[in-house]
Symmetry: D3
Subunit: 241 residues, 6 copies
Amino acid sequence: MRLLVINPNTTAAVTDLAASAVRRVLPGVALRAVTGRFGGHYVASRATYAIAAHAALDALAEHGAGCDGVYLACFGDPGLLALKEVSAVPVVGMAEGALHLACTRGRRIGIVTGGALWKPMLEEFAASLGFAGRIAGIRTIAPTGGEIARDPDSALARLAAACRACAAEDGADVVVLGGAALAGLADRIAPDVPVPVLCSVEAGARMALAAAAVRAGRALPPAMASTGLAPALAALLAEPA
Amino acid sequence: MRLLVINPNTTAAVTDLAASAVRRVLPGVALRAVTGRFGGHYVASRATYAIAAHAALDALAEHGAGCDGVYLACFGDPGLLALKEVSAVPVVGMAEGALHLACTRGRRIGIVTGGALWKPMLEEFAASLGFAGRIAGIRTIAPTGGEIARDPDSALARLAAACRACAAEDGADVVVLGGAALAGLADRIAPDVPVPVLCSVEAGARMALAAAAVRAGRALPPAMASTGLAPALAALLAEPA
Amino acid sequence: MRLLVINPNTTAAVTDLAASAVRRVLPGVALRAVTGRFGGHYVASRATYAIAAHAALDALAEHGAGCDGVYLACFGDPGLLALKEVSAVPVVGMAEGALHLACTRGRRIGIVTGGALWKPMLEEFAASLGFAGRIAGIRTIAPTGGEIARDPDSALARLAAACRACAAEDGADVVVLGGAALAGLADRIAPDVPVPVLCSVEAGARMALAAAAVRAGRALPPAMASTGLAPALAALLAEPA
Amino acid sequence: MRLLVINPNTTAAVTDLAASAVRRVLPGVALRAVTGRFGGHYVASRATYAIAAHAALDALAEHGAGCDGVYLACFGDPGLLALKEVSAVPVVGMAEGALHLACTRGRRIGIVTGGALWKPMLEEFAASLGFAGRIAGIRTIAPTGGEIARDPDSALARLAAACRACAAEDGADVVVLGGAALAGLADRIAPDVPVPVLCSVEAGARMALAAAAVRAGRALPPAMASTGLAPALAALLAEPA
Amino acid sequence: MRLLVINPNTTAAVTDLAASAVRRVLPGVALRAVTGRFGGHYVASRATYAIAAHAALDALAEHGAGCDGVYLACFGDPGLLALKEVSAVPVVGMAEGALHLACTRGRRIGIVTGGALWKPMLEEFAASLGFAGRIAGIRTIAPTGGEIARDPDSALARLAAACRACAAEDGADVVVLGGAALAGLADRIAPDVPVPVLCSVEAGARMALAAAAVRAGRALPPAMASTGLAPALAALLAEPA
Amino acid sequence: MRLLVINPNTTAAVTDLAASAVRRVLPGVALRAVTGRFGGHYVASRATYAIAAHAALDALAEHGAGCDGVYLACFGDPGLLALKEVSAVPVVGMAEGALHLACTRGRRIGIVTGGALWKPMLEEFAASLGFAGRIAGIRTIAPTGGEIARDPDSALARLAAACRACAAEDGADVVVLGGAALAGLADRIAPDVPVPVLCSVEAGARMALAAAAVRAGRALPPAMASTGLAPALAALLAEPA
C-alpha cells in the first residue's frame, strides 16, 4: 500500500510533522509526503483555503503517479471533492476521515483546532459533508496551527481547556483534535479531558487506509482544456486517467 | 487484533457466510463469530429487529471477553448504541461502518437490500446516525436476506436492477449492497452497475478494524439491576467493565 | 373502551403508579395494567431500553387479547414502532402522546425527567418522531424515575427548577414532566413554574384514548419464524392478527 | 364540555356540515358552531386565507364566552396561532389536530384535499408546525372544498385516486382527507384505498376534545389598542382574559 | 419607478417615518405611502399580525393602481405571500428584503427589534422563507416599535447592547435593525457595534427596487367570491388583474 | 458607482458577453470587466471550479482598486466567500444574487444551466448559502456554458424544455437561467415557459448594485504570508485593506 500524503500549505515542516505521525500509526504503508508549491504558509483564512485547493490539485498531478490512495493532510480538506473528481485512486481528507471515525466513537463530536477563522469554515465544511447533526461544537484557540507547531507546549493548556468545554458545555461525547500541526498532541491532553480525544492525523490516516483498500470503479471526469496551469495539472485535466 | 462478529438473528448459516467474507478481507484478524440465542430466524420486521437488539446484547455479554473490537454483523445494526454503551471495546455496526466508508467514495449513497420492510427501517436508522443528507435512496427487493442466502443466483438480476435504479433514478454515486446474507454478491453484480457497488460486509469490517485500532477511553455506564435476563447479560449490566 | 397499559420495566410499583394516574383521568375506561417479565428494574440506559422493547412486545403478546387500544406507559416508549407493527389495535406511547398533545399547547416544548442518560435518548426519540423542531430543550435531574418514585418529595424542588430553566433558558412555552414514576407530580410543581406543566402520564393517556377511538384499517405484518421466544410472542410473530 | 366550532369562511352550509360530523363522533359534547362574518365564500387562496385569520379572531371574540375549548374547523387552520394567543381556553385547528392524531397511526402521512392552491399552503403550514418530516406528500384535486360540498359524489373517485397515489407513489402509511367540506367522505373512499384514510373533521375534533380536557395555565398576551375592528374583537385585544 | 409603500398598522406617524427613510435612499423613486385602515395601532402580537395581513391586502386593493412595485413596510411582513398572490407587480416585504440583502454581507445574520412577542414570530417568519440556516439569533428589547418611534433616544443604548450581543454571543456577522419605526437608528448605533448594522427600511427598499426592475410574467390567481369586505378588495379578489 | 465584473474562467469572449448584458440593465454603472489569468477555459467540473476560486482572488487583487462593488460573474460563484473575506467593498456572486432576487418572485426556485457536472455542484453551493429549502430542482443540459455561448441557437429548445420540466415536474414557481454564457437567452425562451424565467446575469447584477449601495463596515481579515503567488495577490493577503 502506497499512500500519497498532501500537505496543501507551503510549510514543509508541517508536512514532516504529519508524515511522521502517519508513519507511527501505519508502519506498513509506503508514504510519499509532499508540500504545496504556492499559497499561504498556513491555511488560516478563506482566501488561503481557496488557494490551497488549487495547490492540492497541483500536488496530486505532480506526485500522484503510482500511489494506491491519497491522504489530504490538512484539517478542513481544501480541494477535497476536486481531488476525488480527478484522482484515479481513493482520496480521504483529514477532517473527513477523522470525523467519520469519530462518529463510531460517540454520538456528538466536538472539534478543537487552532486559528479563530477556522470555526465557521469548519462548520460549513462539516455541514457540506452531512455531519451537521453529529457536531456538538467547534472551538478554536487563537494561535494558528502554524504557531502551535512552532511552540506546542504553550498551547497544550488552552487546547485541553477547549476540549473540556466541548464536553461540558457542548455535550460532546468525543473530541477530535484537528490539524496536521497538532499531530501527537491528543495523547498529551487526553488525561485532562473527561471524554476521548482523537488525533485527527491518526484517525484520518486509518480511514484513508481503509478506503484505499476497498477496490471499486470510478466515473471518469470530462477532459478540461485550460490556460496558465502547471504542465502536470493541465495534463491531468486534459486527460483524466 | 481479535474481533467478535455478532450475528443477532438466529440462523447460524448467515453467521458463517458473514464470517467467511470478513476472513477473506481481513486475513490477519482473529475472528470469533456468534449467533443470536433467540429471536427471528431473520431480521425482517420491526418486531424481530427490536428482539435482535436484546439478542445482540446477550451475545456480547456471553462472548465479548478478550476481544479488541466488536462487529455487529446485521445490516441495520439492531442494538448498536446499546452495545456501544456497555462494551469495553469499540463496536461498529455493518450499516454504520459501510455507510461511513461509502461516504468517502461518493457524495450520494444508494442502499440496496432484501426485504421490503427494511426500507423505512433503514431510512430511520440512517437518519438517526446523521446520514440523511447523504442517502440518495434505499431500494429493497422482495426476498429477504434469508431467502437470498438460500438462493443467491435467482436474486442477482433483481439486485443489479435495483442498484442501477439507485444510480439512474436516485442519483447515487455509489451503492452499498447491504446484508450479511448478501456477502460476496457485490462483486458479481458490479459489472452490471454504472457506479461502484460496495459490499456492506467488507466495508463494515474494514471500518470496524480501523475503529478498533484507535485507542481512547470510554465513559462507564451506570450499574443496572435487572430481572429475568441471562446471567452473563445481567452481570454485564450490574457491573459494567 | 378497554385499554392495555404496558409498563415495560420490571417494577410493579411503577405500573401501579401509572395505572392509578390513568384511572383518575379516564374514569370510564377499563384498564389492564401489566409489567415487563424481564429487563432492568428501571429503564435508565440504552441497554435496559433495548431490552424493554422486547419485554413490551412480550407483554403485548401475552395480554393484548381483547383490548381496544394499547398505552405504552414508559416515557421514551421502548419498542413503540415494533408494537404498532404487530398490534391489531392502536398503540400510543407515553412520550409520543404527551408530546403530540403538548404541541397543541405551546410552540416550543420542554421536557424534564429523571436519569441523566435519558437526555440523548429522548433527543433521538423525539427526533425520530419528527418533533425535533418543536423541542426547546430536554433537562434531566440525577435521580432516575425509579428513585423519584420511592422518594418523590425530595425530587420536587429539583424538578421544578429544571422546569423553570426550560422556560427561562430554553424558551419553552410548555413543559412535559416525563415518566411513569412521576405521575401526579406535575400538579405539585406547576405553581412554581411560569409556563404550563403537563403530566406525561395523563397527556399520553388522553392521546391514547383519542387514537383508540378512531377506527381505521391497518397493514398486516409478514409472518416471522423465531427461536427461543415466549410462546405467546412466537405465536404473535408467526401469525399476526 | 362545551366546544366552540369556528368555520372561518363565510358559507354557513359548510359550518353545518362540519358541526354535524363533530356531533356524530362527540355525542356528549355541547357544540356552538359559527361562521365567518366576512371573507371568501371558501378559503382557497392565500388572500382568502389571510382574511380568514381575521374572521376567525372576530368569531372567537364574538362567540367564545363560556366555551371550554375551540375547534378551528378549516383544514389549514387560518389564524391558528393568533387564536391560541388570545383565547382563554385551548384551541386546536383541524389540520393541526388531524395531523397529530395521524402521526400515531403511521410514520408517513399523506394529505388529500380540494383546491390546487392548497398544496403549497399546506406544505408551509405543516412545516411551520414541525410536521415536515412526517409528510409523505400532499395531493389536491381541482374542485375546491366548496365545490366538493355541493357535489360530493362526483369527487369521490378523484379523491380515492389521490389517496391511492399518496400510498403508492409517496409512500404514505396513512392518509388524512382534509377539509370541513369533505366531512363524511373518508368512510366512503376507505374501501378503495390500501392504507387507512382518516377524516380530518373527526380526527381534529377528537384531538380538540383531548386538548380541552387537559387543564393548565396560560400566558396572558399584552393589551393591544386598535382601530376599525368589530367591538368584541377590539375589546378582546384591549383586555385579554 | 413608482413604489407603493404599505404600512399595515394603523399609525400614520410610522408610515411617515418609513416613507421619509425610503425617500432618502431612493431619491429618484416616486412613492405613495399608505396606512392600514383597521387593526392594531402597532403590530406587536400574533393577533394584530393576523389582522394586519388583511389590512395590507385592503390597502393594496385601494391604492395599488399604477404602481410598479410594492414595498410592505412592516418588519415581519404580515400578508406577504397573499399580497404577492394578488398583486400585478412585484411585492417585497421589509424583513424579506432586508434579510436577502443582509445575506450578501455576512454568513450569519442577527436581528434586533422592539417588542418581546416578535422573537418567535420572526423566527417562524424567517424559517418560512428558508432563512433559518442563516439566522444567528433574534433579540428583542421590551419597548415595541411604536414606543421606540415616540422616544427613540431612550432606546438607543438597549438596541446597541442587543446588537453587540448578537455579535458576541450569537456569532452574527451582520445585524439587521428591524422595524419601520426604527428607521434611521442603525447609523446612530453602528459606531457602538463591532459588526455591520443594516437599517431594515433602507435594505428592504433597495431590494424592493431591484425586484421591481426585473420584468417577468406572473401566474394569475383564481377569482374568489367574498362577503363583507371593502369594495376594492372584493373586486381585486373577484377579478385579479 | 463603479463595478468590477470578474469572470473567473479564462475565456474573454464570455467576459464580453456578461459585461454587455450588465451594461444593458445597469446603464449608469461604470464597469471594469476582467478575465481569469489561469484555469479552465470554462468552469464545468470541480477541479476547474477550485482553480477558478484562486483565479478570482488573483483578479480581484490585480483589478479591484477603486471599485465600489464586485460582481463575481460565474454562475456557481467560485471563491465567493474568499473574495468577500479580502475585498474592501461588497462582493455579490451571480448565483448568489440571482437566487436572492428570485426568492422574492416565487416560493420554489428552479435552476437551469449547461454542463451536467454542475448539478451536484450547484446543489451544494445553494445548500451552503442556505437556499436548500427554496430550490425546487436543478436541471442541466449537456452542452456546457462555453458550448452554448458558441452556438446558442441550437441550445434554446433544450433550455426551454428544461425550464418547463422545472415548472411541471419540480413545481418551480420561477426559473433562474444560470450562466454568464447564457446572458440574453432568458428573454428568448420565456414565451415557451409557463412560469417567469430570470436571467442570472441581470438578476445577479441588480443584486450586486443594491448590495454595493448599502454602506456598512467590515471586519478586516488577518494578514497571511504566502509563497509563489502573483505579487498583487500576495500583497492583498499580506496587507488586507
